[in-house]
């Protein structure tokens, strides 16, 4: 694992040489931001930005970002395989990933917070609870406060998603995937690569099936239930929470797939497999978010 040093000497912390990837990644984000904002404006016809190629610029930016990620991660993999990662550096990486996941937790916390605020305060207040009798009377006197809100104050109506169909299956899929991932994780710690590959593959496939089911559920919601982003606060929160979760599942599944390839190439040893561990943590985080989602978005 770590750079072998002479006995009695503390290994030095590896400070990488100059790297082109951070600034390239920053430029890729610049292209994504400019292209993305133009693309959104053009495709939703809020503003007509004729002459700017929003979609194309956005696509170029995304491609550049992928290239940057490839290059940057490649650099760290080469360092790791070259034995430059001291124990202290691998602790830095682990802590870094842990705090990054905490930031993701807080990102979802904002959306869950919006959900709780809406259910506990906004909807009752619009219905006249507390000191809001006049609000109710003057704004939308016909409005009925209930959850899930299938009839908005301005009269849009739609169906809500039942938890006991596809969502329950999806819960099962993700939790099972987490179990297989944990089996793979235990296998990597004893160096049983064949077992890692088998279990990791199952975990990844379950993840992709989850995404397929989610896509089908969205299609069903849009086409048959009239449940869209435009369906008042219920539709907004439903698609925001499940959508960002789905995005994270996609990222997590890509990470796991990369880990599968790296395992097959023999990159990991029982002592040195930080990347695998980081991807596994991320997957479990996505799992936990889903369980919260299942309870508070679909079920309760």
């Amino acid at each position: 694992m770590a750079a072998q040093t002479e006995p009695g000497k503390t290994p030095l912390y590896y400070v990488p040489a100059q790297s082109v990837w951070p600034i390239y990644t920053a430029i890729a984000l610049l292209i994504i931001a400019i292209g993305g904002a133009n693309f959104i404006q053009q495709s939703t016809d809020k503003v007509a930005n004729e002459g700017t190629l929003g979609g194309a610029t956005f696509a170029v930016g995304l491609f550049a970002l992928l290239v940057c990620m490839w290059g940057w991660f490649r650099e760290t993999v080469v360092e790791s395989l070259g034995g430059k990662n001291s124990t202290q550096l691998s602790i830095s990486y682990r802590m870094g990933m842990g705090w990054f996941i905490f930031s993701e937790v807080m990102f979802f916390a904002a959306f869950f917070g919006a959900l709780f605020y809406t259910r506990l305060l906004t909807i009752p207040w619009l219905g006249g609870a507390g000191n809001n009798a006049m609000t109710h009377e003057l704004l939308w006197p016909q409005f009925q406060a209930f959850w899930p809100l299938t009839l908005t104050p301005d009269g849009r109506t739609f169906e809500v998603m039942s938890p006991w169909g596809l969502p329950a299956i999806n819960t099962l899929l993700l939790v099972t995937s987490g179990v297989f991932l944990t089996i793979a994780h235990h296998a990597i710690k004893v160096g049983d690569n064949a077992k890692v590959l088998k279990n990791l593959a199952i975990a990844i496939i379950l993840g992709f099936i989850f995404m397929g089911v989610q896509a089908y559920e969205y299609h069903h919601a849009y086409v048959e239930m009239g449940l869209t982003l435009n369906s008042g606060i219920y539709g907004s929160l439903f698609f925001l929470l499940t959508g960002f979760h789905g995005l994270h599942v996609t990222i997590g599944a890509i990470m796991l797939t990369v880990m599968w390839v790296r395992t097959a190439k023999g990159h990991f040893t029982p002592e040195n497999h930080f990347a695998f561990e980081a991807a596994a943590w991320y997957w479990h985080f996505v799992d936990v978010v889903w369980i919260f989602l299942f309870f508070v978005v679909y079920w309760l």
Partner: protein, 521 residues
């Protein structure tokens, strides 16, 4: 050990992984943004110098107040503290560099990207090609959703990029402090600047993602038909304010906790006494950080919260004055019977203690719900947060810059000019902000380009103070330039017996330091 050759030219700066070079870039970037944001403040003060409209249209005035706030908060104050953290934390804890050097470079270079997008919007607006963001730095819905100009979408993505920069920077700081301390540097031996930054970094990771969530919902409301902040669909514009201030209140401590660390470092040096109440300083910082999560709605006392809500947030807010009082007490107790001298960093530090306390006391006034309902959105609020941000945060950055400049450049700065900078700033900043309390109590509203005649005299003098303060900052550029170019050589200790590992290395600090960690007794 093998060292890669130190590259030169512009590539050195674009590709660097060195904490000192990245720290310098952060500091220079924040200085540039300070002048850009300052220029906008000059436009605002020029318009407000006389009653009536003379210089700019109201919509452009709104764009000025908005972008002045955004640039100063996210572009000047925050990056200046990150720059100091980059330079000083590895030196203070005996680490060879930041824990994740490439990430560090990325965090920096995202900032010019984000602010490039924002400043481009202003330039476009100036050329008459569409309005820049004009809804105030707090970008409340529905001003920013239903009524925001097209540039709002670029602003949203710019905020996302700033957020990535802040989160990655904070992750780096936390990991560095927890994992990279030299042997023997236990947590309770860390310099307070390191402690306050540890807590600041935690706040950043906890709340910047919430800001990202808020702007994401804004984007969806603007373009994808959602109703987060639209009551017609069952949403609530007040919810935007809750989410924003859940980020926003910890954010204001993000901008002041590192300042507390700086002042706690400088005062003991020039009072020639150890810091009074080190442990209580640590606990006070942690308490302020904890309380910062449960006071956000004191920014919203006039939106019609339930009575219990107003009371809870009022009491919690007033509670903050206890740990803050502990800090001010400790600084004064450190100076008490010390062998004090008044070098430039100490002058800025003492001014900080006095003037920040004024800002803190006006904050206590604003915390009282019924009183705040009178002060809300008046110049009293403007006076309050400029006392804590300009004479608080910015003065502490100047104190830090003067304290460590000799260590960074190897040269002493020109003391006479630096003192001139201090006194000119000190006098003008009070001419600028102190009368704002009175026009605010007289109920002059903020963010409005015109005002009734009775505020004319005060506003004239406020503007004079503003221009004088703006000009005074140019003196700093001269001091900085001269100090980088040459001057009396600094010793490795620079000051008389200062505490800390950073004074055990030569001045200027070599590019690589503490490759083999020192042992701390």
């Amino acid at each position: 050990m093998a060292h890669h050759a130190n590259p030169t030219g512009f590539k050195r700066w674009l590709l660097t992984t060195n904490h000192k070079e990245i720290g310098s870039m952060y500091l220079l970037f924040s200085l540039a943004m300070f002048f850009v944001g300052g220029f906008m403040a000059m436009v605002i003060r020029a318009e407000l110098m006389y009653p009536g409209l003379q210089l700019v249209q109201p919509d452009f005035f709104n764009q000025m107040t908005t972008t002045h706030g955004l640039i100063m908060v996210f572009g000047a104050v925050m990056p200046s503290f990150v720059g100091l953290a980059n330079w000083m934390i590895p030196l203070m804890i005996g680490a060879p560099d930041m824990a994740l050097p490439r990430l560090n470079n990325w965090s920096f270079w995202l900032l010019p990207v984000a602010f490039g997008i924002l400043i481009f919007a202003i330039i476009k607006s100036f050329l008459g090609l569409g309005a820049a963001p004009n809804f105030g730095w707090t970008f409340y819905a529905p001003l920013s959703t239903s009524y925001g100009p097209p540039s709002t979408d670029f602003f949203i993505l710019s905020v996302h990029i700033m957020g990535i920069s802040s989160i990655m920077g904070a992750v780096n700081v936390i990991v560095t402090i927890i994992n990279m301390r030299a042997p023997g540097m236990t947590m309770m031996k860390m310099p307070l600047f390191v402690w306050t930054w540890l807590i600041t970094a935690f706040l950043l990771i906890a709340v910047i993602p919430v800001l990202a969530g808020a702007v994401t919902m804004m984007l969806f409301d603007r373009h994808f038909g959602t109703s987060f902040f639209d009551a017609a669909g069952g949403g609530d514009p007040v919810m935007f304010q809750h989410i924003f201030w859940f980020f926003g209140h910890p954010e204001v401590y993000i901008m002041i906790l590192p300042a507390f660390g700086i002042i706690s470092t400088i005062i003991p040096t020039f009072a020639r006494k150890p810091l009074f109440g080190y442990a209580s300083m640590v606990y006070a910082t942690a308490s302020i950080a904890f309380l910062s999560f449960i006071v956000w709605a004191h920014h919203m006392f006039t939106v019609g919260l339930p009575l219990q809500g107003n009371l809870f947030f009022m009491y919690m807010t007033m509670l903050i004055s206890v740990p803050t009082g502990v800090k001010v007490f400790n600084w004064i107790a450190t100076m008490w019977r010390g062998a004090m001298t008044f070098e430039v960093p100490m002058l800025f530090s003492i001014a900080f203690v006095v003037l920040f306390t004024i800002g803190g006391l006006s904050g206590l006034m604003l915390a009282i719900t019924p009183a705040d309902q009178q002060y809300h959105d008046t110049y009293f609020v403007v006076a309050h947060f400029h006392y804590v941000l300009v004479t608080g945060a910015i003065f502490s950055v100047y104190a830090a810059a003067y304290y460590w400049l000799p260590k960074w450049t190897g040269n002493m700065f020109h003391t006479g000019l630096a003192k001139f900078h201090f006194w000119a700033s000190l006098i003008s900043v009070n001419v600028l902000f102190f009368p704002m309390h009175f026009v605010g109590l007289g109920s002059m509203p903020r963010r409005i380009p015109d005002y009734p005649l009775q505020f004319a005299d005060m506003n004239f003098w406020i503007s004079i103070g503003g221009f004088a303060f703006g000009l005074s900052q140019i003196i700093f550029l001269v001091v900085l330039y001269k100090c980088v170019k040459g001057g009396e050589k600094a010793t490795s200790e620079v000051w008389e017996n200062p505490e800390g590992l950073e004074w055990t290395i030569p001045s200027p600090a070599p590019l690589h330091t503490f490759e083999v960690p020192p042992t701390v007794k």
